[in-house]
C-alpha cells in the first residue's frame, strides 16, 4: 500500500485549491484551519506509507503516468517510496503541521492571511514532490516550486511602509537570482546525466553509473560537482549562501519551515539521493566536505556578532547545513540525514520561539528607533515568557550539542565520521561546534537573561496557546530525538542497512563525543562570562567586541562576502548590462524595429484583402480553387 504517498501530495494541493476557491467565503482563522487539516492529512498518509515500508523495507516506485515522451526522453510522473523519501516526508509533514498551527496565531490579523496559508500548503506539496520524485525532471519541478514558494514568502510583506517593503522584495529577488546560479549547475548536471545515460529516472541513473563508470571517472566528477553547485545554492553553502540571511525578511513561520527545517535541506537530500554518483567521484566528495566544513565554521563565526534575532539563526542554519553537507559528502549519509532530522526539529523550534518573542515585542514598540528583532532591546524575558523561554532553551541545548539532547548525538556522528575522513575537516567542524555553543548561549542570554532593556520588553507577555503548543511538541522532539539513533542500538542506521541505501558509518567514538561535550560546555561558560549579566544594550558596545576588536564588525558583515559579491559580480554585471543595452537599443533594436515594421506592414496589407464583401470573399476562394487544381495538375504532369 505505497499508494498513500500520492495522497500525501494530493492533500496539501487540495488545500491550495480549496483555499483559492473559498477565499471569499472563509474568514480568519478558517483558511488556516483548513490548510492545517490538509497538512495533517498529508502527515497521516506519510505515516501510513511508513507503516507499509516497515513491512517491505526495500520500497517501491509508483508510476502515475507519462508526462513527456519524445525520442529517448521519457519523463514519467513516478514517485519513489523508500526509507530516505519516507523519512523526509515525515519530517516535512510533522514540522509543517506544527508550523501551520503556529501560523494561525502568528499571522492573526494579517491582511493576506489566506494567501499565506495557500503559499504554505503549496510549499508542502512541492517539497513532498521533491523528496519523493523518482525522476530527476520531476524532482526539478519540485525543486523549482519550493524555490518559487520561498520567493513568494520572503517577499510576503512587499507593501510595508517606510522602505521596508522594498527591502523585503529585494531580499526575495536576491534569493531567487542567487538560486538561479545554483539551478544552472543542477540543470547542467541533468543534461549531462541524460546525455551519458539516456535516462533521467533516478534508479536507472544510479544503477548505470555504478556499472558503467569507473571510480574517479571525469564525467562522474563533473556531474557530482555540478550537482554540488545546485546544492550550494539551495542549501546556502559557500559561495552561494548570500541569499539566506536576507531571506529572514519573510514571516517567521515561513523562515522556520522553508529556510531552516525543510527547503534548505533539499541540497543535502540531493547528495544523499545521488550518493552512488558521489562515491564514484572522490574529488567531488572532497570538495563537498571542504565546502561544508568551511561553511560550517564561517556561518558559526558570522552568527557570533549578529544583533538581529533571526539573522543569528540564519547564519546558524548556514553553519549547520555545512555539517550536513560535509557528512553527506564524505559518505556518512545516515549521519547526515539524522542531523537533518534533529536539526529540522530544533531549528524550527528556535525560529518559532524567536517568532514568539518578536510577536510579543512587536505590538509594544513605540520608541522611535525600536526594532522588535534586535536582541539589544530584549532581556529579562524569562519571567515574562516562561514557556517560550523553556522551549527555546530546549532547542538551544540541542543545537549546542549537550547530552542528552538530540543534537549531541547527530552532531557527534558527523564529527566522528569527519575524524576518520580527514583531520583538517574534523578541526574545522570542531571549531565550528565550539562557536556554535558560544553564539547560541549568547543569543539565549541576550533574549532572556538580565533585566529588560526596552519598554517593549517590560510590557511583553507570553504568546497565545496556539503558538505555544507547537513549541512544546518541538521541544519534546528536540530533547529526546536522539533516541532515533543512539550509539549502541542505532535504530536509524539499522533501517538504513535494511533498506539497501549506500552507507559508510563511523561507529560511536567516545573520545570525540567527550571532547565535543566539553567544548560545548566551554562555549556556554564563555558566553555566560561575557553576557551573563546582560549588559548589551544599544548604547554599549557588544562585550565580545572588546575582545575581538576590529574583527567584530568584520564577522558581523559575514566576513564582507556580501559586499564583495556586490563589488565583484553585481556592479560589473550592471555595467555590462548598461553597455549591452546601448548596443541593444541602437544595434539589435534597429533590426528589431525593422522586423516589427515589416510584420506590421504585411499584416496591414493582408488585412486590406479581408474586406468582408461577399463577392470579394468568393473571388479569393476561387483563387484557392485554382491554386489547388493547378498544383494537382503540376504534380500529375511532373
Amino acid at each position: 500500500m505505497f499508494n498513500w504517498v500520492v495522497l500525501s501530495i494530493a492533500f496539501p494541493l487540495a488545500g491550495v485549491l480549496l483555499n483559492l476557491a473559498l477565499s471569499r467565503r472563509l474568514r480568519e482563522p478558517w483558511p488556516g484551519v483548513l490548510a492545517t487539516i490538509m497538512v495533517a492529512g498529508a502527515g497521516i498518509a506519510a505515516a501510513l506509507t511508513a507503516g507499509a515500508l516497515a513491512a517491505e523495507p526495500e520500497g517501491s516506485v509508483i508510476t502515475l503516468g507519462s508526462w513527456i515522451a519524445v525520442g529517448d526522453l521519457h519523463v514519467t510522473w513516478a514517485l519513489r517510496v523508500d526509507l530516505l523519501s519516507t523519512l523526509m516526508m515525515l519530517v516535512v509533514t510533522l514540522v509543517g503541521l506544527l508550523i501551520h498551527v503556529y501560523s494561525i496565531g502568528y499571522m492573526r490579523g494579517d491582511a493576506r492571511f489566506t494567501r499565506f496559508f495557500i503559499y504554505l500548503n503549496l510549499f508542502v506539496a512541492a517539497m513532498l514532490l521533491l523528496v519523493t520524485a523518482d525522476n530527476l525532471v520531476v524532482m526539478f519541478v519540485g525543486w523549482e516550486s519550493v524555490g518559487l514558494c520561498s520567493y513568494l514568502l520572503i517577499g510576503f510583506w512587499f507593501d510595508k511602509t517606510k522602505g521596508e517593503g522594498w527591502r523585503n522584495s529585494t531580499a526575495a529577488r536576491k534569493a531567487f537570482i542567487v538560486n538561479r546560479v545554483g539551478d544552472l549547475g543542477l540543470l547542467l548536471a541533468l543534461f549531462m546525466i541524460f546525455w551519458t545515460f539516456k535516462t533521467l529516472a533516478i534508479e536507472e541513473v544510479l544503477e548505470q553509473a555504478a556499472h558503467t563508470l569507473e571510480l574517479g571517472a571525469p564525467i562522474a566528477t563533473a556531474m557530482a560537482l555540478l550537482l554540488l553547485l545546485g546544492v550550494s545554492g539551495k542549501s546556502a553553502q559557500l559561495p552561494l549562501f548570500l541569499w539566506l540571511p536576507d531571506a529572514m525578511a519573510g514571516p517567521t513561520p515561513a523562515s522556520a519551515l522553508i529556510h531552516a527545517a525543510t527547503m534548505v535541506t533539499a541540497g543535502v537530500y540531493l547528495i544523499i539521493r545521488m550518493q552512488a554518483l558521489f562515491v564514484l567521484a572522490p574529488a567531488a566528495q572532497m570538495t563537498a566536505a571542504a565546502v561544508g566544513a568551511v561553511t560550517a565554521l564561517f556561518g558559526a563565526s558570522a552568527a557570533l556578532a549578529q544583533t538581529d534575532i533571526k539573522r543569528v539563526l540564519a547564519f546558524s542554519t548556514i553553519s549547520q547545513l555545512g555539517f550536513m553537507v560535509t557528512a553527506a559528502g564524505i559518505g556518512s549519509t545516515s549521519a547526515g540525514l539524522f542531523h537533518l532530522m534533529t536539526h529540522a526539529c530544533f531549528k524550527s523550534l528556535l525560529f518559532l520561539a524567536a517568532g514568539s518573542v518578536i510577536h510579543a515585542l512587536k505590538h509594544h514598540g513605540r520608541q522611535a528607533d525600536f526594532d522588535a528583532q534586535d536582541m539589544r532591546f530584549m532581556g529579562g524575558l524569562w519571567r515574562r515568557m516562561p514557556w517560550t523561554f523553556i522551549t527555546y532553551w530546549a532547542g538551544a541545548l540541542a543545537l549546542i550539542g549537550l547530552p542528552p539532547f538530540s543534537g549531541f548525538f547527530s552532531k557527534d556522528e558527523i564529527l566522528a565520521s569527519a575524524y576518520e575522513y580527514h583531520p583538517a575537516i574534523f578541526i574545522l567542524l570542531f571549531a565550528a561546534a565550539f562557536l556554535t555553543a558560544l553564539y547560541v548561549a549568547r543569543q539565549g542570554l541576550l533574549i532572556f537573561a538580565g533585566r529588560p532593556r526596552s519598554k517593549a520588553a517590560v510590557a511583553a507577555a507570553e504568546s497565545e496557546r496556539v503558538m505555544i503548543w507547537p513549541l512544546l511538541i518541538l521541544a519534546l522532539f528536540s530533547a529526546v530525538g536522539g533516541a532515533l539513533n543512539l550509539p549502541g542500538n542505532g535504530l536509524l542506521a539499522h533501517w538504513w542497512e535494511e533498506s539497501g541505501l549506500p552507507v559508510h558509518e563511523a561507529g560511536f567514538n567516545p573520545t570525540v563525543a567527550a571532547l565535543a561535550a566539553a567544548v560545548a560546555l566551554a562555549g556556554v561558560g564563555l558566553a555566560w562570562a561575557l553576557y551573563g549579566r546582560g549588559k548589551a544594550d544599544v548604547s554599549h558596545a557588544d562585550p565580545l567586541e572588546k575582545h575581538l576588536g576590529r574583527l567584530f564588525p568584520g564577522i558581523q558583515q559575514g566576513w564582507g562576502l556580501d559586499a564583495l559579491s556586490v563589488k565583484a559580480v553585481v556592479y560589473p554585471f550592471n555595467r555590462l548590462g548598461v553597455a549591452l543595452s546601448r548596443f541593444d537599443l541602437n544595434g539589435i533594436g534597429g533590426a528589431d524595429r525593422g522586423l516589427a515594421h515589416v510584420v506590421g506592414l504585411s499584416a496591414q496589407r493582408l488585412s486590406k484583402i479581408q474586406t468582408g464583401y461577399l463577392n470579394w470573399n468568393i473571388a479569393i476562394m476561387i483563387v484557392g480553387i485554382a491554386t489547388v487544381l493547378l498544383l494537382v495538375a503540376l504534380w500529375r504532369t511532373g
Binding site: L64, G65, S66, W67, V70, G71, W77, V599, G600, S602, A603, Q604, L606, S607, Q610, G612, L614, W616, N617, I618, I620, M621, V623, G624, I625, T627, V628, L629, L631, V632, W635, R636
Partner: protein, 489 residues
C-alpha cells in the same frame, strides 16, 4: 444488440431536437425546460458514448448497416463524437444566462442537438453520399447557431456569408464526389480505398473535396467567411463552431484522404496549406484590436498547425504526426472553446446585448481580473495555452507535431518545423496584449456589478482544468486520439 448503441447515439440528438424546441416554446418558463431537455439528452448520449468507448477499447467497432447505408464508429468517429458532445454539453450550460431568456432562444437548444447529431453522423458515415448529406445537415444546423436572432442585422450578415460560402464548399464536394463515383463506380469508402484510384478524374475529385471541406476547416484562402462569422455570432456559437464544426470539416477531409490516398499528393497539400494558414492567421491577427476577430484569425493559424502535423504524418507514413495533429485539434477545441466562453462571460458582465457582440475591444477587458478573477484566469490560461507556453496543453501538442516533423529527417520538413515554431513565437505578439489588458489596473466602462452565474462558470472551470491536466498528463486522452490517428482504419 450491437447496433442499438450506435443507432441511439446517432438518432437520439436528432430526434429530440424538435422536442427541445416544443418544450421550450410552450412551457414558457424562460426556456429552462428546453435547456434541461437538451442536457438530459446529451448526458444520455454521453452514457452511450462511454459504453461504446469501452467496446472500442475491447477491439470491437460499434456499427450498423441498413441496406446500402453503413454507419461505423471507428476511432476517428469516436474522436469527433467526443468533441461534438463535449462542446455541445458545455454550450448548453452556458447558453441560458448568455441569452437571458430572450424570445426565440429555445431554438438554440434544438439547433445544437441537431448539429451534434449531424456531426456524429458525418463522422460515422461509411460512404461518400451519406458523408455529404450529413455535411449539408451540419451546415444547416450550424447556420441556425449563427443567426439565432433574426432581427439582428449583423447576425444576419454573418449568417448570409456563412451560408453562401458553405454552400459553395458543399457544392464543390458534390462535384468531387460525382467525379469519384464516375471513376470508381462506388461511393463506399472501403471499396474506394481498395480500388485506390489514381486517374485524373479521381485526382480532380479529390482536389475538389480538399477545397470543399477546406472551406469548413477555413484553410487559407477558403477562410474568408470565418472572421465575420466568429465575430458576429453569439460567443457560445463561436465556441461550438471553432471547437467542433471546423473539426468536423477536417474529419470529412480525412475520410476522403484515407480512401483516395493515391490520387493526389495529400501530404504536400496539407503541409503547404497548413503553413500558409499559420502565416496568414498570425499576420491577420497581429494588428487586431477586436478580441473576437483576433481569436477567429488565431483559429485559422491553429488549424494550420493541425494540417501541418497531419501532413508530416502523411509525408513520413507514420502515425506520430497525425497523432500530434489530432491531439492539437482536440486541444484547440478545449482552448478556443474556453477562450470564446470566457469572451461570452465577459460580454455578459459588460451587459452587452446578445447579437451585438462584435467590437469587443481590448480596452473593454481592462481590469477584468479585479472584477472577476476566475474569468480572467480562464482566459489567460486559454491564451497562454494557445501561444504554446509550457506546461499547458497547447505546448504539448505543438511539441508533438514539431517532434514528428523533425523525426522525418528531411530538410524541407525541418524548415517547415522551424517556420511553424517561429510563428508560434510571433503569436505571443497578439495574445499577450489581451492578458495585459485583463490584468491592467482600472476597470473599463460599463462593467456591471453582476456576479458571474454559476452555470456560466462551469464550462470555464472544466476547460481550464483540462488545459492544465493535458499539459501535465498528455496521455490522458491517448485512448481517444491514438485510435483516431490510424487513418483508413
Amino acid at each position: 444488440m450491437n447496433a442499438a448503441l450506435p443507432v441511439g447515439l446517432l438518432t437520439l440528438p436528432l430526434l429530440s431536437s424538435p422536442l427541445a424546441y416544443f418544450v421550450g416554446r410552450f412551457s414558457g418558463r424562460r426556456h429552462g425546460l428546453a435547456q434541461f431537455v437538451a442536457l438530459v439528452v446529451l448526458l444520455v448520449a454521453w452514457a452511450m458514448f462511454v459504453a461504446m468507448a469501452g467496446q472500442l477499447a475491447a477491439g470491437e467497432t460499434p456499427q450498423f448497416e441498413y441496406g446500402m447505408i453503413a454507419f461505423r464508429l471507428d476511432g476517428l468517429a469516436m474522436y469527433m463524437a467526443a468533441l461534438a458532445l463535449g462542446l455541445s454539453t458545455l454550450a448548453v450550460f452556458f447558453a441560458r444566462q448568455m441569452f437571458q431568456a430572450r424570445a426565440g432562444s429555445e431554438k438554440y437548444y434544438a439547433a445544437l442537438l441537431a448539429l451534434t447529431g449531424a456531426m456524429i453522423g458525418l463522422a460515422g458515415a461509411r460512404d461518400l453520399f451519406n458523408l455529404w448529406v450529413w455535411f449539408e445537415t451540419m451546415i444547416a444546423a450550424s447556420y441556425l447557431l449563427v443567426v439565432i436572432f433574426h432581427d439582428e442585422a449583423l447576425n444576419l450578415e454573418a449568417g448570409f456569408k456563412y451560408v453562401v460560402q458553405s454552400a459553395m464548399g458543399s457544392g464543390l464536394v458534390v462535384f468531387g464526389i460525382a467525379l469519384i463515383l464516375l471513376d470508381t463506380g462506388t461511393l463506399n469508402l472501403d471499396l474506394i480505398a481498395q480500388a485506390a484510384p489514381h486517374s485524373a478524374m479521381a485526382a480532380i475529385g479529390s482536389a475538389l473535396c480538399f477545397i470543399g471541406f477546406g472551406v469548413k476547416v477555413a484553410i487559407v484562402p477558403m477562410h474568408t467567411w470565418l472572421p465575420d462569422v466568429y465575430t458576429q455570432s453569439p460567443s457560445v456559437s463561436s465556441a461550438v463552431l471553432a471547437g467542433a464544426v471546423s473539426k468536423a470539416g477536417l474529419v470529412g477531409l480525412l475520410r476522403v484522404t484515407a480512401a483516395l490516398s493515391a490520387a493526389i499528393p495529400w501530404a504536400d497539400l496539407f503541409m503547404l496549406f497548413g503553413a500558409a494558414s499559420i502565416l496568414a492567421g498570425n499576420l491577420l491577427a497581429f494588428r487586431q484590436r477586436d478580441v473576437k476577430r483576433l481569436l477567429a484569425y488565431s483559429s485559422m493559424g491553429h488549424l494550420g498547425y493541425v494540417m501541418l502535423g497531419i501532413g508530416f504524418g502523411l509525408h513520413a507514413g507514420q502515425t506520430a504526426g497525425v497523432y500530434g495533429g489530432l491531439f492539437h485539434a482536440l486541444n484547440h477545441s478545449v482552448m478556443k472553446g474556453l477562450a470564446f466562453f470566457s469572451i461570452g462571460a465577459a460580454l455578459y458582465l459588460l451587459s452587452r446585448p446578445v447579437g451585438r457582440e462584435h467590437g469587443l475591444r481590448l480596452d473593454d477587458l481592462a481590469g477584468m481580473a479585479r472584477r472577476c478573477p476566475l474569468l480572467a484566469l480562464a482566459l489567460t490560461l486559454a491564451l497562454f495555452s494557445l501561444a504554446g507556453i509550457p506546461p499547458l496543453a497547447g505546448f504539448m501538442s505543438k511539441w508533438q507535431i514539431f517532434a514528428a516533423g523533425l523525426a522525418a529527417n528531411s530538410p524541407w520538413v525541418t524548415a517547415l518545423v522551424v517556420f511553424a515554431a517561429l510563428n508560434s513565437v510571433l503569436s505571443l505578439g497578439y495574445y499577450l496584449p489581451v492578458v495585459n489588458a485583463l490584468y491592467r489596473e482600472g476597470a473599463s466602462e460599463g462593467q456591471t456589478r453582476l456576479p458571474l452565474p454559476r452555470l456560466m462558470a462551469i464550462p470555464l472551470v472544466v476547460l481550464s482544468f483540462l488545459i492544465v491536466l493535458l499539459g501535465l498528463w498528455p496521455d490522458a486522452v491517448r485512448w481517444l486520439v491514438a485510435p483516431a490517428s490510424v487513418l483508413g482504419g
